[in-house]
């Protein structure tokens, strides 16, 4: 793909020349700044509201998803306009996308942590260091923060 030449002839025109489209207009950059500020206010506002649950998705998760969606949108604006990826070569675009795709994929590891309680592991049962059970957890047991009656407590499993 041919890229726009960065030639001196286009510079003299103060960025209004057709061939200098890779120079962002100051108006656009300012609009993006204002948009980012507005989105920041929206994310603050949204964090103080208990959003309702949507179907099986609890309200707290909706709140978190909204916050992350706004942050991702803000990040996209910064990457696309401020970082000028829209003017970058296809190679650079793919590279940038791949970098963030891998970040996203990494969160698949949550599937491991989320399912460990389904599978008791010999020797990793609940116990205190004193009575022989090893633990990487804080030395208080059971931790006050855990809900009594949760499946893990009833099955005598410790969170990992």
């Amino acid at each position: 793909m041919a890229t726009t030449p960065l030639s001196s002839k286009t510079h003299g025109a103060g960025g209004h020349d057709d061939h200098s489209s890779h120079i962002s207009s100051s108006g656009l950059l300012f609009v993006i700044l204002v948009l980012l500020m507005v989105l920041m206010l929206v994310t603050i506002w949204a964090s103080y509201i208990d959003l309702p649950s949507i179907g099986p998705i609890p309200g707290i998760v909706v709140n978190n998803l909204v916050a992350l969606a706004i942050a991702t949108f803000k990040a996209t604006l910064v990457i696309w306009f401020f970082m000028g990826v829209r003017f970058a070569s296809s190679l650079a675009k793919i590279w940038v996308a791949a970098g963030f795709l891998v970040l996203f994929l990494m969160f698949g590891i949550m599937g491991d942590y989320g399912t460990r309680k389904f599978e008791p592991v010999q020797g990793w049962e609940v116990g205190t260091p004193v009575d022989g059970g090893e633990t990487a957890l804080p030395r208080t047991w059971p931790p006050e923060g855990r809900t009594p009656g949760s499946p893990a407590i009833e099955q005598n499993l410790r969170p990992r």
Partner: protein, 229 residues
Amino acid sequence: MAAIAHDHAHDDHGALHHQFENIEQQNDSYIVGMWTFLVTEVMFFGALFFIYTLYRSMYQMDWYLAHEELDVTLGGVNTVILLISSWTVAMAVRFAQLKNRKMVILNLVVTLGCAFMFLVIKAFEYAAKFEHHLLPGPTFGSVPSHLNGANSNYAQLFYGLYFGMTGLHAVHILVGILVISALTYLWIRKADSVMKDYIPTELVGLYWHFVDLVWIFLFPLMYLMPKPH
């Protein structure tokens, strides 16, 4: 790639190095190279964001209570400061392309000012947390009123990540100050390396936008946890 005439090459960009076909390919290589570094930074911070996600999902209520101690106003002001600095850097790159030296320097100096302001505000925030014994360590949580009823161990996990992630971010700000200062110095000295080639300004700009990018996620995750309901 389009074939470009190079007869005027020396007055609008850096020298074309022999391994490149043309100036576009050379510039693309710089950009892709910088992004390669930034992608490793994404992985670097990404691991911390993963740890954050894991523990927050496990100790949602304790983390919510612990996070209430953070100052949303200061965090918000710092967000505004970083967004403005990101904009001034974008403007500096634009003026570097337009060869408007004075405006480049002005924008870079404003960026530096923003970076310093960010660190000063962060220092005040940290100082308050130290005073309240919220720095992970032997005396963590010795003033229980500042835990807001959160389990001390889980609150300590939260503050470990708070200091770890915002601290690492602050280190990036410091490095940014150094790099932007060096760039500003080169512009003030009218160095050919920046005057004839916008790429150095562009690459420093990419770095600074990345620092802003990390904060865009840190701010809502650390300061704006919704109440579990």
